[in-house]
Symmetry: C2
Subunit: 289 residues, 2 copies
């Protein structure tokens, strides 16, 4: 280590999993303190052959944003409590991973024993004022599974407790949000009512009303007939209600190679085989019928 490098204190950092550098600043720091440390650190990282540099600035460190950008950092992403900047110190192909690009939603198909489907009318959004009765829908939260989010949304909107059964279909809708750059994927899920929870309790502020509606009446609403995507999805629900053959994807609980819980969604007949071999899942996790 040469004398000059020792003279300027460096920013504290940790290696990331891909040979890069993570700097996580949480305490207030003046620009005068920050800039020389950042410059010296960049020299040091280059000398070490580091390429990707992550700079995480907690709430309250807005004074460091402009100086960091002046040294070549760009925004990567932000959450309510921090801003992440990134710099790529190499001429090689930039392998900084992409930011989150998608939002995942669900539409929940719940049928009772009278062949009635659980439907709602929404306040706000494209359905407000149309009179259309639609399936409960919602957005999957961060860290939540598709199956779990579907169960949660149905209960929040209608009070009905359900168990996830199958993904029947999904659709992509591009340029959908965040300055029309991001994509929505919506999973059409079938759920089973839990015994003894027939009574609807409209719970969410965004819902005008919720009720059980005969499936044919639901499918035959003009909205569901005139709009092709809605017609396709309504007809998949109808097919399921008629006990005709339509096989979707069910869940098999497993773990990733690093040991984290993970769900595989695959053809229901196949999932049933895997779940049977695999031993019964715990009661808190979805199983196929």
């Amino acid at each position: 280590m040469d004398v000059e490098a020792q003279e300027t204190p460096l920013l504290q950092w940790k290696p990331d999993d891909y040979g890069g550098v993570k700097v996580n600043l949480t305490e207030p720091m003046t620009t005068e303190d920050f800039v020389p440390k950042l410059r010296a650190s960049l020299v040091d990282w280059r000398n070490q052959g580091k390429k990707g540099i992550w700079l995480k600035l907690a709430d309250g460190l807005e004074n460091l944003i402009a100086p960091a950008k002046a040294e070549g950092f760009k925004y990567h992403h932000a959450e309510s409590d921090y801003l992440m900047l990134v710099s790529w110190l190499s001429d090689l192909h930039n392998t900084i991973p992409a930011n989150a690009s998608h939002r995942i939603g669900i539409a929940a198909f719940v049928l009772n024993s009278n062949r009635e489907v659980l439907v709602v009318q929404e306040i706000g959004g494209p359905f407000d004022g149309t009179g259309v009765w639609k399936l409960p829908t919602g957005v999957i939260k961060e860290g939540e599974g598709v199956w779990a989010g579907a169960e949660r949304e149905v209960e929040e909107e209608t009070g009905i407790e359900t168990t996830f059964k199958e993904v029947l279909a999904f659709r992509e809708s591009h340029k959908s949000f965040s300055e029309k750059r991001k994509t929505d994927i919506m999973f059409l899920c079938e759920l089973n009512m839990k015994p003894g929870t027939f009574e609807i309790k409209k719970e969410k502020a965004e819902i005008y009303a919720a009720k059980w509606m005969p499936i044919e009446e639901y499918v035959n609403q003009p909205w569901n007939q005139e709009k092709e995507l809605f017609r396709f999805m309504a007809n998949i629900c109808l097919k399921r209600s008629q006990e005709m053959e339509y096989v979707g994807f069910s869940t098999v609980r497993t773990t990733t190679s690093t040991g984290r819980e993970s769900y595989l969604y695959c053809n229901t007949d196949h999932a049933n085989l895997l779940n049977a071999t695999h031993g019964p899942a715990s009661t808190s996790t979805p199983t196929s019928r």
Copy 2:
């Protein structure tokens, strides 16, 4: 309008689709100019009953971040060229839509007529140094469909041109990236080789090697047998190669209710019926086999 409100100039804004306010600042502005305008605008928006206020600051307007946060704004998201802040002016339930929460990846299963599967060895990542031959994988780009991303990744990594056939399965992996808050969903896709593109041309810098490997040899690699999730997915590929019944999801091209192109992924038998009724898709779009 009272006299006082007229005295302070307001920020320019547009209504969003949900009754909120969008402010899009792109030109340099001093803090002294910005703060009184923002304060007067907030009073005006409150008087108008506005709730959700979006403030988009282009690259170069870092000086306005701290003043905006002092007036109650929080980070919503960031892209390389802008930062989006948001403020909710109401005591009612905050209905500001969530930021993107997921990243979508694909693993591509391509089988040739000799029952060999297209496999690669990756530089970097968890497979580097393991000797494992794996399916080509990649991350779906912003605005790109799952089917299109799968075709692109296979060509980039191996030079083989393919046509999307089916989603065979997908898995969720939570706390996966961006400070372990976000979720990866990976779609296992089957693709058909286009005629006359048998020859592998290793193209991407992140790939050591690519080759055709007999499917049983692929499936029987220790990695694919010892790790449950990989074993499940490898066995789905094996089942497909054996012409045993395994039905996934194919695409049907349609439009959303607002007229944007959209793909519905549903049970392949059903998709075939819909595509037959629907008329042939154009050659640039995927069709089921």
